[in-house]
């Protein structure tokens, strides 16, 4: 149950940098999720940890011991891949027995171990079946049992739930984590699915272009994103570019190019600086702007930052997403519970607002905001 430290890893494939100064510390027994878009270097990171890929430079240590010279088979890091890779000519039992048999552990103990692992993943009805006879979920469980029976101390999970259907995926999230915890394994789980990461991880490491851009608990990453990219990637955000205005105890004012003033949480940026504001779409609020009638010629106007017109409403089951256009920003999106579905319709004029402490303010990124938000 080692502590894994990756220090300044680099790895290039031709012009592509799969790791570019990647550093990460995984604590003993921790369940960490590496979350990032496709092509960010997630799989390369896992492959370097278990030794299948050798880094160009940098160091990997387990409990302070450098791993460079340690062959794959001695690292005790087991990979659970998205295709499961159950060995086709072997039954469930033989697959799980793979590690005990090649390591030549005592026969009786091995049998007991294998049986208990198979039982733990609820595959005891299927021991004599071949992989092609199993469903996706069963293959996944078998692969897990095989990994758990290998005496490994580190579990590397490469999008392990990707190939499963949605409902099963949700079920297995909990199971997977609880089994890893039960066995006391240090687990590194790679995914591009933010919900999966938020639900499963002790800590989330956000990876982008071969670097870790933020690491923290799911709540920290969600609520206090370190960069506009993280803000937008973990739970979508509305992004505004503007100039920092005056600050007071309730927060900071930001002036958008058309003069609209919005508020964000307190910042260190000084007045007049260019800045980016990010607000989670779930934290964005909208209220109808009443139309003056004869009975109420001057209705009470709702408070907010700017007006917008509803362009589209998407029904998503538990939630609805409302897309609006305004003069302040081309597109504003807002996520609401589904009971609000009947309250709004396309063409309605609404006032947009949010609590200032829900909006994060960033210095404008060097590469430009469009580049910063790109998802690859």
């Amino acid at each position: 149950m080692p502590e894994i430290v990756l220090k300044d890893l680099t790895k290039s494939y031709g012009d592509t940098k799969a790791a570019d100064g990647l550093s990460l510390t995984v604590k003993d027994g921790e369940y960490i999720c590496i979350l990032g878009p496709t092509g960010a270097g997630k799989t390369t990171c896992l492959r370097m940890i278990c030794g299948l890929t050798k880094q160009d430079s940098g160091e990997i240590t387990f409990d302070g011991k450098p791993m460079d010279k340690v062959p794959i088979s001695e690292r005790r890091t087991t990979m659970l891949s998205q295709v499961y890779s159950l060995f086709p000519p072997m039954t469930v039992y033989e697959n799980v027995m793979f590690s005990p048999s090649i390591k030549e552990w005592p026969e009786e103990e091995s049998k007991q171990l294998v049986k208990s692992m198979i039982k733990m993943v609820h595959m005891d009805q299927k021991v004599q079946q071949y992989p092609h006879e199993l469903s996706g979920g069963q293959q996944q469980r078998t692969a897990l049992a095989r990994a758990l029976a290998s005496d490994s101390k580190v579990l590397l999970l490469d999008e392990p739930l990707r190939a499963l259907d949605a409902r099963l995926r949700l079920e297995l999230r909990k199971e997977l984590k609880s089994m890893a915890k039960e066995m006391g394994l240090t687990s590194i789980h790679v995914t591009h699915d933010q919900d999966e990461a938020l639900e499963m991880a002790d800590r989330i490491a956000i990876i982008r272009q071969g670097r870790i851009v933020q690491i923290g608990t799911p709540m920290e990453v969600f609520q206090n994103p370190a960069t506009p990219f993280v803000a937008n990637f973990v739970g979508r955000s509305n992004i505004f570019v503007g100039k920092v205005g005056t600050s007071d105890e309730t927060g900071t004012e930001v002036i958008l190019p058309d003069g609209t003033k919005v508020r964000s949480r307190h910042t260190d940026l000084s007045e007049g600086e260019d800045a980016v504001v990010a607000v989670k779409i779930g934290s964005t609020r909208i209220e109808h702007i009443p139309v003056p009638t004869e009975e109420v010629p001057n209705p009470l106007m709702p408070e907010g930052y700017f007006e917008a017109v509803i362009e589209r409403i998407l029904y998503e089951g538990a939630t609805i997403t409302v897309e609006m256009s305004s003069s302040a920003i081309e597109l504003v999106t807002c996520k609401l519970p589904n009971r609000k579905f009947d309250d709004f319709s396309v063409g309605d004029r609404v006032m947009v607002s949010w609590a200032p402490d829900k909006a994060t303010l960033f210095r404008i990124p060097e590469c430009g905001i469009v580049e910063e938000l790109r998802l690859d």
């Binding site: 062959p71 001695e74 000519p89 793979f98 095989r146 490994s152 590397l156």
Partner: protein, 544 residues
């Protein structure tokens, strides 16, 4: 610690793995590639005899004629194979009908026939053979050139259909279906969508068929002997075989010259074919909807299927099996002792060669499969094809020159023949294994290693069981190929009597019936052997 465990433990070491791979490559280069093309160096060391030959216009015209015959026959045969092979591959991969399994097995059978046997069978079937043949044939008077084409089609056709079906199996029918839902007729869909995806298969098929036709000696020589044309009509390999019988002082020059010409032309061809086939523009962008529709419906597609199957039956299978007509004749006194000892020799040579191929072919095949995009991988991939494309007679002659200093006779001759057979069977084994390994997701081995398996264990416990059937298929192919080879054996030495050599001798001395009976016995032995291997390996599958 047992030996296996020791090897297993050190297989973790990067350097050890590199050394093993290096050894396999060294064996491949030193024992297979270099001796195969060694004859080219004789241009320098034996310039005297070579220039004498070049100055002798009579011999040179014979050589040019022989080379011309070889290449033009190979070319015509390959084109015919492609034309009739494409619809046949289609039938095998995309259609289901009763008896498909049997047709499938039947088509491979000519591959298991020693070509010497095919030579007899084909001439009796089509032609008017020399006196002494008691079986009635069609009696068509055909020129030796035509006869060679009919003969070569038989043993190249299965290669073409196999290469094409292998690729076709990987091309999803979805593309065609998609094109058809977009309004294309089936004919147009296949022509514009699937055929262009086919090029890789065409290249492989082209190389295999061309090389096979180019290097065939035994069947060609026997067919010519039966027709009485063996001293007037030559192909490259039969010319070498013919010269071998002559006084070495006369024969050396012409043999060097023709071998070098054949090798160099074959290598140029190998380089060109890949480029040309990839670049050649097929007429795929234009469409003729009405013609396409007409060809896709009604009688046209059925006619195409009937013609394809008819061709297989009439031109490939019937002439090949015609030798069995000899069973209707009174049983002769066959020299069973001689037959048995030459069969033993054939099996010894083929067996050792195949084992050698597997041991030293696997590392190279693994490397090619897993490093196809690297320079080294591509270099090896191309090198492996060389012994395949070089005419085996030229290869045998080259080998004899290379190892000549070891002396001949007895055990050394046998070893040389084994080395020769290793050269031209090695590519078959490596090709098969490479193809199989490329199909296997590397993640199996990777996961096995993260589960604690050493690299050797990952190979032997995980990859090996998955590709086992391909290794066996490659081994059977190589084994039967070796069993049927005449040219290389004769060119290396005259002391090693394998079955095809024995049959050739019987024909030369006019004992046709005896040769036929020996052929039938040889074919039966081959089939029993093949079925036994299949049965054993299938049983293995079930217990696994």
């Amino acid at each position: 610690m047992s030996l296996f465990k020791k090897i297993n433990a050190i297989s973790d070491n990067d350097k050890v793995r590199k050394a093993w791979f290096g050894l396999a490559v060294a064996v491949f280069v030193c024992l297979i590639i270099v001796p195969s093309i060694f004859v080219v160096t004789k241009l320098l060391t034996e310039w005297g005899v070579v220039s004498d030959t070049l100055g002798n216009s009579e011999i040179m015209s014979l050589i040019y004629g022989a080379v011309g015959n070889s290449f033009s026959i190979a070319f015509i045969v390959t084109i015919i194979d492609i034309i009739v092979g494409i619809p046949m591959a289609w039938i095998f991969v995309r259609k289901n009908f009763k008896g498909k399994k049997y047709l499938d097995t039947l088509m491979d059978m000519p591959l298991a026939f020693p070509t010497a046997v095919l030579g007899i069978s084909v001439v009796i079937f089509w032609g008017v053979p020399a006196d002494g043949v008691t079986i009635p044939g069609l009696g068509l008077v055909v020129s030796p050139y035509m006869m060679m084409i009919m003969l070569h089609i038989i043993f190249t056709y299965p290669y073409m259909v196999r290469s094409l079906s292998a690729i076709l199996e990987q091309i999803e029918p979805n593309y065609e279906t998609a094109a058809m839902t977009l309004g294309a007729s089936r004919f147009t869909a296949v022509r514009t969508i699937t055929l262009p995806l086919f090029r890789a298969g065409l290249v492989t098929g082209f190389i295999l068929c061309f090389a096979r036709s180019l290097s065939e000696t035994g069947g060609t020589y026997i067919a010519l002997t039966l027709m009485g044309d063996e001293t007037t009509f030559f192909t490259g390999p039969t010319f070498i075989a013919f010269m071998k019988e002559m006084d070495p002082s006369v024969a050396l020059g012409p043999m060097i010259v023709i071998s070098v010409i054949m090798i160099v032309l074959a290598l140029i061809l190998l380089l060109l074919v890949k480029r040309i086939m990839i670049r050649i523009k097929l007429p795929v962008t234009k469409v003729w909807p009405s013609i396409g529709r007409k060809l896709s419906n009604g009688i046209a597609p059925k006619l195409k299927d009937i013609v394809s199957i008819g061709f297989l039956m009439l031109v490939v299978l019937l002439p090949a099996f015609y030798i069995f007509a000899y069973l209707t004749q009174p049983i002769l006194n066959v020299d069973y002792g001689q037959l048995l000892s030459s069969t033993g020799m054939s099996f010894l040579v083929a067996g050792v060669a195949v084992v050698f191929d597997i041991i030293f072919g696997i590392p190279v095949a693994l490397y090619i499969a897993r490093h196809r995009h690297t320079k080294m991988g591509q270099l090896l991939d191309n090198l492996v094809n060389i012994p395949l494309i070089i005419p085996t007679t030229a290869l045998g002659f080259s080998l004899a020159l290379f190892w000549g200093s070891l002396g001949t006779g007895g055990i050394i001759s046998v070893i040389l023949v084994i080395l020769g057979h290793t050269s031209f069977t090695y590519p078959l084994v490596v090709r098969n294994i490479t193809g199989a390994v490329e199909e296997v997701d590397p993640s199996y081995e990777e996961v096995a290693m993260t589960l604690g398996a050493k690299p050797l264990q990952a190979f032997s416990k995980v990859l090996m069981p998955i590709i086992k059937s391909s290794i066996i298929a490659g081994a059977i192919l190589a084994f039967t190929r070796s069993l049927g080879e005449t040219g290389a054996t004769i060119a290396i030495t005259s002391d090693v009597n394998t079955v095809p050599v024995y049959i050739t001798e019987l024909i030369s001395s006019g004992s046709y019936s005896e040769a036929a009976i020996c052929s039938i016995i040889l074919i039966l032995i081959c089939f029993v052997f093949m079925f036994a291997v299949r049965a054993v390996t299938h049983r293995g599958d079930k217990s696994a």
